[in-house]
């Protein structure tokens, strides 16, 4: 699955990845690869604009962490949790609708 197909879904995927526990950018990309079983193929740098955008929109919060090297760690906000719930519900509706037609 390439970056073009992911358009519009990346934000939701990032929220879902961070929902488990706070993560830095590299850990987000790694988790995306692992949970998609390597099927998500996008330039790794594209996750950072998404992280910054989600933070600007109040869905993520972040802090610097100094554990050996300086890195930005992101966590879900309450608003982000709500948004993730909405996105999950919409996605299930979308999948069941398309599935009903295609099947």
């Amino acid at each position: 699955m390439d970056a073009e197909q992911l358009k519009g879904h990346l934000d939701g995927l990032v929220l879902a990845i961070i929902a488990g526990e706070p993560k830095h950018g590299y850990a987000v990309i790694e988790a995306l690869k692992v949970r998609s079983q390597g099927r998500l193929d996008l330039p790794e740098g594209t996750v950072y604009p998404a992280l910054h955008r989600l933070e600007r929109n109040g869905l993520l919060a972040s802090d610097w962490s100094d554990t050996g090297r300086r890195r930005r760690v992101y966590r879900l906000t309450t608003k982000g949790e709500r948004e993730l719930g909405i996105r999950r519900r919409r996605w299930r509706e979308f999948v069941s609708t398309v599935e009903a037609v295609l099947a």
Binding site: P43, G45, T46, Y48, P49, R56
Partner: protein, 292 residues
């Protein structure tokens, strides 16, 4: 120089070229450096494309914020101008000189420019609020409307106090001599502070603009759900719409003069207002994205 170092240097340069400065740029580069320290062979993507994506999204947010902050500042300052006008009423009983009249005229004209540009900035900002990125031309229009609005608002406020400083009007300078005299300098000062506080957002929006290509809309595009109705009335032409508004403005003011038993003054003021509106439209219309 390692590949990682070269990549980070390129990214830093591209971010700078895109207008991303200071803490923003430092944070992005630090995050990418951390990523590369986890995996030196990571495919982070083209630095120019990454910088453009950041600039598009940041610039879009900055432009909208500038429009909203400018409108808010102008609304607050406008309220203070009303307070000032009320506070000036006792002074006007003693009569205004020629300098005061000129200052009030400038103040009135600039106030209308501030009202129109600030309001149009808000309309455009609201129309574009759901979009992740907007074209550079749209961002420029937002920044210009906000900037001109704030400048005109500041001129509205300072025009009258400047004449007072110049002429050392005894009634006006003697703050505290008359209870109402305290209020007009105070309202002027606070209004000016409010407008200056909104200026950094405009500077930021002017400095960092999205890179995306595309045209900016015109006045008709700003009207949202009213657009089809107004476009039909104006025959789809913004020039015709401006002409109708200018003539309508002149007629309304002239009729107000007639109603106040001062038809000559009404007609004169109507012609001045209508002419000023059309002149402003001709000079600033394209710059402010009112017409294409």
């Amino acid at each position: 120089m390692t590949d990682a170092t070269r990549y980070l240097d390129d990214l830093d340069a591209e971010l700078a070229r895109a207008g991303i400065r200071g803490a923003h740029r430092e944070r992005i580069v630090t995050e990418f450096a951390d990523h590369l320290s986890c995996n030196q062979d990571a495919d982070l993507g083209d630095p120019a494309a990454i910088a453009t994506q950041f600039a598009d999204e940041l610039g879009t947010g900055f432009a909208r914020t500038a429009a909203f902050q400018a409108f808010l500042a102008l609304a607050l300052a406008g309220s203070l101008v009303v307070v000032r006008a009320v506070a000036l009423l006792p002074l006007s009983a003693g009569g205004f000189g020629a300098a005061d009249t000129v200052a009030l005229l400038i103040s009135a004209m600039a106030g209308q420019v501030a009202l129109v540009t600030g309001g149009l900035g808000l309309l455009r900002g609201l129309r574009l609020r759901g979009q992740r990125t907007i074209p550079q031309q749209e961002a420029s229009v937002l920044a210009r409307r906000a900037g001109i609005g704030l400048a005109a608002g500041a001129l509205t406020i300072v025009a009258f106090p400047l004449t007072q400083v110049y002429r050392a009007h005894p009634g006006a300078i003697a703050i505290g001599g008359h209870p109402t005299n305290l209020w007009w300098p105070l309202a002027s000062a606070v209004g000016l502070v409010v407008l200056v506080a909104a200026a950094p957002a405009v500077v930021r929006a002017a400095w960092l603009r999205p890179q995306a290509a595309g045209p900016a809309g015109d006045l008709l595009a700003d009207l949202g759900p009213l657009q089809p109705v107004v476009a039909r009335i104006a025959g789809g032409s913004v020039n015709r719409l401006a002409f109708v508004i200018g003539i309508g403005l002149a007629i309304v003011i002239a009729l107000a003069g007639v109603a106040a038993n001062d038809p000559y003054d009404g007609i004169l003021r109507g012609l001045l207002e209508g002419g000023a509106f059309l002149g402003g439209y001709a000079v600033l219309g394209r710059y402010l994205g009112i017409r294409r």
